[in-house]
């Protein structure tokens, strides 16, 4: 149950952030498209709500010192997907930064 909640949190956080980033960038780029779609952003907020409630559930099942660092893994996963899906230029400096932050969050919560 604990690991199921971790999976739900990580997957939903990653999905919501990717969706928001993709949609906001698309709006900015599509100057001629004056009819903004609300669907993707509403979906992102719903997914964030799922992530929030799953986090609440996880806190009732496990310690804060487990819940926070394990969800910090999403920083690294999202950086990988930002490169693969969003085609961002992730330089070695950015990789190093993301890894330092993920380790730092893990240490902070321990």
């Amino acid at each position: 149950m604990k690991w199921l909640m971790v999976a739900v949190i990580v997957v939903s956080t990653v999905l919501a952030d990717l969706l928001q980033s993709f949609e906001m960038k698309r709006r900015d780029a599509a100057v001629e498209d004056r009819r903004p779609r609300q669907g993707p952003l509403v979906l992102a907020v719903i997914i964030m709500a799922i992530s929030f409630f799953a986090f609440m559930k996880l806190l009732s099942l496990a310690d804060m010192s487990f819940a926070v660092p394990i969800t910090a893994a999403s920083v690294v996963i999202e950086t990988i997907l930002a490169k693969l899906v969003l085609k961002e230029q992730v330089t070695p400096m950015r990789w190093a930064g993301a890894c330092f932050v993920a380790c730092g969050v893990a240490l902070l919560a321990a």
Binding site: D17, L18, Q20, S21, M24, K25, R27, D28, A29, A30, V31, E32, L41, V45, M48, V68, V75, E78, T79, A82, K83, L86, K87, E88, Q89, V90, T91, M93, R94, A96, G97, A98, C99, F100, V101, A102, C103, G104, V105, A106, L107, L108, A109, A110
Partner: protein
Amino acid sequence: MASGRMVVEELKPAGIFGRRLDFKTKALTAFVVLTNVLGNFAMSWGMKHQPTVLADTPLVYIRTIFSPWVLVGTTLLILWLLSRMMLFKWADLSYVLPVTSIGYVLTAFLGKYFFGEQITWRRWLGTAAIMIGIILVGMTRPNTTAPPPPEANR
């Protein structure tokens, strides 16, 4: 063509437009972090100072939601959500995530100051690692996928 990306343009050093956008990005990043940290803090403060234990009747839940601190917290977190979306417009996901992680550090310090929580050497180490990570990512260009600024097309 808005979707056509000009590689040459990306390699150019940021002009006055780029610099102004860079400042806007950094200012908005600060706003995102502040609303997140203060929003979480207000929520936490509100929940800890409830006169009744959170349970039983729906009335207790409703009263909790409309208590002043929780309302302030909710408002700040809504602002956080909206400003973060705006930030995604100007900056990469792989930039926003690490840089806004300073919120973890600030939350830890607020916890120490207001709730009397201990900061162990391990937490200091974590804080240092996060700061190093933020400095490393902060030195990269915030946006690597943007089309050239509108001025370039005219």
